[in-house]
Amino acid sequence: MSKIVFERTKALTDNEFSYCAGCTHGIIHRLVAEVLEELNLIDQAIGISPVGCAVTNYNNFNCDMVQAAHGRGPAVATGIKRVIPNRIVFTYQGDGDLASIGTAEIVHAAHRGEKITVIFVNNAIYGMTGGQMAPTTLIGQKTSTSPFGRTIEQSGMPIRMSELLATIPGAAYIERVSVHNPAHVRKAKQAVKRAFQTQFDQKGFSLIEFISTCPVNWGMTPNKALKWAEENMIPYYPLGVFRDDTKEVKG
């Protein structure tokens, strides 16, 4: 007699992920979904899909979903949250979406202290469009639009969004995590939980930045990509909590 030891979380649909083999989007989706289920938030959740590799993830999260224009997720989330404040609203955004075209929207959503949760996936490249340079591409990293490697002279230093957003008073919880090994996956899930709890408790804006990979556009095997992320990305994008105002006692 066999017994069930593991099940797909109810917060994910049966739809197949559209991601390439070895990409960590799948893990991140599952973490977000498991947290929604564990905090009993699926029924009141509204997710915002980005433009980029996760563009069709409205097919994956088993709650109401709204697809947003490139970078505008935090504005769309603001519109929803302001008119139905007792719901849980989250955006899911890549580095092109959040750290390039959508910088105004993310900065001002944080600045207003919008009670939304942002899942920010940073893999240092534009995956969907075929491997172009992102604002988070590392110095020296070769992409299809930085074929000789990114230089400071041409493009400046890679942008660190968590550090930038952590300077904003409206941001209540900002943490950067990684999913390059099982220990970090577990830690990342706790961070996602903290972020959604922050929103549920009406504490303010929350964002979790994931260090992610793109084996296909980095030109690496999945294992090598995980190792590369650990050895190259984490030194420049250190993991940790950058802002936590959730424990502050008001009054």
Partner: protein, 355 residues
């Protein structure tokens, strides 16, 4: 109810509240800023949400979000700001989301000026956003008409699940006129928003608001569905006024403030025995083509008058179907013509027709 003496922008804001608007997202720009100013003060009394966004781009995307959540929502701006909102408007049309957008038009292109203009006609009626879509668009001439149309616009927007644009020139935003904001308007039967993404609350299947169709046949099917809706708007929403349609030799075609100046010119000309009339489009999309199909046989020519270098004239040509000669008179850049200039333009055209 008694009439109130109100400034255009404020009357439009109050009309929105009377029309059931429960959320406003906008960004300041001249000459429409009194509209968000008014709502920032009074929206709360009506149980709604007011938020000044960081940009027009953010504002329209907040409108997109609030609309997706099933709430009556609007934004307002002026020409360059509307240009920035086009991306979001295209997404709203593609996702079939309602919403009212007020454009208090000023002169362009570029930063242009801040004086009244109708030079956004093509932007409004052809869309500045990408894809196969249209906004239902109205261009009223008085504050009363503007107020009535704004109130109805929320219904129409819900009815068709499509953005509705109200395009008035800056003069209408800035002038004062008596208005009855509680005047009864046409009511439409609106069905429940069984598409809104406001959280399942465990009561229903999940919903998706989306304009992405990566599968080509599916996108075509979606475009055909939208097109069918636009055809329905063309059948039902062509609105116009005809003045002196029975005996006119020349029909002026003008809307908004320009139509009001033309009315004065028509009076002067009629006193001189010159038979001039007016076709005044109230809906500019759909364009009231039917008005041109039932003109009196006395009409010998059409004179299009605009506060632009000539944009609506293309629609006049389409609606005219090659039947009558068409002339044009326009002032641009925020310049507003004297009545005499219209009189002269009519006389000039008349001279040409006699030959």
């Amino acid at each position: 109810m008694a009439k109130l003496m109100m400034k255009g922008n404020e009357a439009m804001a109050l009309a929105a509240l009377k029309g059931g608007c429960k959320a406003f997202f906008g960004y300041p720009i001249t000459p429409q800023s009194e509209l968000p100013e008014y709502l920032s003060r009074y929206m709360k009394e009506y149980g709604g949400v007011f938020l000044q966004a960081e940009s027009e781009i953010a504002a329209i995307n907040m409108v997109y979000g609030a609309s997706a959540a099933g709430v009556r929502v609007m934004t307002s701006s002026s020409s360059p700001g509307i240009a920035l909102k086009q991306e979001g408007i295209s997404y709203m049309a593609g996702s079939e989301l309602p919403g009212v957008i007020i454009n208090v038009m000023r002169g362009g292109p570029g930063l242009g000026g801040i004086q009244p203009s109708q030079s956004d006609y093509k932007q409004v009626t052809r869309g500045g956003g990408n894809g196969d879509y249209y906004c239902l668009a109205f261009a009223p001439e008085s504050l009363q008409e503007t107020v009535d149309i704004i109130k109805e616009a929320f219904d129409l927007s819900d009815l068709y699940r499509n953005p509705v644009m109200i395009a008035v020139d800056g003069l209408i935003g800035q002038m004062m006129e008596p208005v009855d904001v509680d005047k009864e308007i046409k009511k439409h039967k609106i069905s429940e928003k069984d598409w809104a993404t406001d959280g399942t609350m465990g009561q229903r299947e999940r919903r998706i608001v989306n304009s992405l169709y990566l599968n080509t046949p599916e996108l075509e099917e979606h475009c055909i569905k939208l097109h069918t809706k636009y055809q329905k708007m063309k059948e039902n929403e062509q609105r116009y006024e005809i003045v002196h349609g029975d005996d006119a030799e020349i029909m002026i075609v003008a809307y908004g403030t320009m139509a009001r100046i033309c009315r004065s010119a028509i009076e002067i000309l009629r006193e001189q025995g010159i038979l001039v009339g007016l076709i005044r489009p109230i809906s500019i999309w759909p364009y009231p083509e039917i008005a041109f199909d039932q003109l009196s046989p006395t009409v010998k020519g059409l004179l299009t008058c605009e506060l632009s270098m000539g944009q609506m004239i293309d629609d006049v040509k389409i609606a005219n179907k090659g039947r009558l000669p068409i002339s044009f008179f326009g002032r641009s850049g925020g310049m507003i013509p004297e009545t005499e200039e219209i009189v002269e333009a009519v006389m000039k055209m008349r001279g040409g027709l006699v030959k």
